[in-house]
C-alpha cells in the first residue's frame, strides 16, 4: 500500500519517462525525434530528482508567512534538489537548442535527417 502515494507515483513516472526516452534515443531514426526523446529523458530525470527531495505533509521552501519563519526545518521540503533541477532545466534548453542547430546544419549538408545515412565515420 505504501506504493500508492505521491512520491512513489512521481518516482515511477520519472523512471518510466527515462526508459521511454532511452528507448526513443536508441531506436528512432529521425534526428529530430531523437532530440525529442532526449528532452523526454531530461524531464524524467528532473521529476526523479525533485521527488527525492519531497517530504510528506510539508510545504514549499518559500518563507512568506510568519508561521513558516519559526522552526523552519520541520516545515519545508528539501530546497537543494530543487535548486539543482532549476540549473539543469536551463542547461537542458541550451543543449537542446545546440542539438537542433546541429541537426539543421546536418540537414543542410546531406539533405536528410535519417541517422543511418550519417555513416561517414563508420568503418
Amino acid at each position: 500500500m505504501h506504493w500508492f502515494s505521491l512520491e512513489y507515483i512521481a518516482m515511477n513516472l520519472g523512471f518510466l519517462l527515462i526508459l521511454i526516452g532511452l528507448w526513443g534515443i536508441i531506436t528512432r531514426k529521425n534526428i529530430l525525434r531523437i532530440i525529442i526523446s532526449f528532452s523526454l529523458f531530461d524531464t524524467g530525470t528532473h521529476i526523479v530528482i525533485v521527488a527525492i527531495g519531497y517530504i510528506r505533509n510539508r510545504t514549499a521552501p518559500i518563507l512568506d508567512t510568519l508561521a513558516l519563519q519559526k522552526d523552519t526545518a520541520s516545515k519545508i521540503v528539501d530546497p537543494l534538489p530543487q535548486a539543482l533541477v532549476l540549473t539543469a532545466i536551463v542547461i537542458g534548453l541550451g543543449v537542446t537548442a545546440l542539438l537542433l542547430v546541429y541537426a539543421m546544419k546536418l540537414f543542410e549538408t546531406k539533405k536528410t535527417l535519417d541517422i543511418h545515412r550519417f555513416n561517414d565515420l563508420k568503418w
Binding site: 523512471f15 517530504i55 523552519t72 530546497p79 535548486a83 532549476l86 536551463v90 542547430v101
Partner: protein, 234 residues
C-alpha cells in the same frame, strides 16, 4: 529486428536497475543535514524568503556562474553556426503573410505586459518563485511574440550583445566585490540585509538577479533572433 531485440534487452537491464532503485528507496522523513543548515541559518545569513534562491545565488553561486557561462557559450556557438548559412534569395520574404489585425493588436497589448511580468519575476526572485532564469525566459518570449506579430521586424543584435556583456561583467564584478567587502565570492552581504520579506532586502540578491535576468533574456533573445533571421534568408 535483431537490433531492436538487442535494444530491448539493454532497456530491460535498465528497467531492472530502475526498479531496484525505486524499490530500495524510502521517502525522507526529515531534511538532510545540509538542507537543515540552509533552512535554519538561511533566513538570518542570507535574508531571502525564497530558500531556493538563497541556494542558487549565494550558497551555490558558482553553479549559477557556470550555468550562465554555458548559456553564453551555447548562444555564441548557435550564432556562429547560423551565420554560416548563406543567404540566397531575399525576395522570398514577400510570400510571408502578415499577421492578422487581431494578433498584432493583441501583441501590442501583451508585449508590455509580458516585459513587466518578466521584470516582476526576476526582481521578486528572493520573495516569490522565479528568478533570473525564468524572468529572462519570459522576456525572450515577449520578443518571440514581437517577431510573430510582425515577421519582417528585425532585432538589433548590437544592443542585445551590449546588454548581455554589460550584465555579465556586472554579475562577475559584484561577485568579486564580495571577496573584498564580505565573506567570499558572490557573498550577498555587501549591502545591508534589510527587513526580512521586503522588496529591498537580502543584500545584493535582487541586483544579482536583475543582471542574471538581463543576461539570460538577451542570450535567449539572441538565439531566437538568429533562428528567425535564417528563416528569412532562405
Amino acid at each position: 529486428m535483431l537490433r531492436n531485440s538487442l535494444f530491448l534487452i539493454v532497456l530491460a537491464a535498465f528497467a531492472v536497475i530502475a526498479f531496484t532503485l525505486v524499490n530500495a528507496w524510502h521517502p525522507a522523513e526529515s531534511l538532510s543535514p545540509v538542507a537543515e543548515h540552509y533552512a535554519t541559518n538561511g533566513p538570518t545569513e542570507v535574508g531571502a524568503a525564497n530558500l531556493v534562491t538563497a541556494v542558487v545565488v549565494t550558497y551555490r553561486g558558482f553553479d549559477t556562474l557556470g550555468e550562465v557561462t554555458i548559456l553564453f557559450v551555447t548562444a555564441a556557438i548557435i550564432g556562429f553556426f547560423l551565420s554560416l548559412f548563406h543567404s540566397e534569395s531575399p525576395e522570398q520574404t514577400d510570400r510571408l503573410m502578415p499577421a492578422s489585425e487581431i494578433l498584432s493588436t493583441a501583441s501590442k497589448l501583451l508585449i508590455p505586459f509580458m516585459l513587466v511580468l518578466g521584470i516582476y519575476v526576476f526582481v521578486n526572485g528572493h520573495l516569490t518563485p522565479g528568478g533570473g532564469f525564468q524572468g529572462g525566459a519570459i522576456i525572450a518570449s515577449a520578443f518571440v511574440l514581437l517577431l510573430l506579430a510582425d515577421p519582417l521586424s528585425k532585432l538589433n543584435h548590437r544592443i542585445i550583445a551590449m546588454v548581455e556583456s554589460v550584465s555579465g561583467v556586472a554579475f562577475v564584478l559584484i561577485g568579486l566585490l564580495g571577496i573584498f567587502l564580505a565573506g567570499g565570492f558572490l557573498d550577498n552581504r555587501i549591502l545591508d540585509l534589510g527587513t526580512f520579506g521586503a522588496l529591498l532586502s537580502a543584500g545584493v540578491i535582487p541586483l544579482l538577479y536583475i543582471f542574471i535576468g538581463l543576461k539570460v533574456g538577451s542570450e535567449l533573445t539572441n538565439i531566437i533572433g538568429h533562428l528567425q533571421q535564417t528563416q528569412k534568408n532562405r
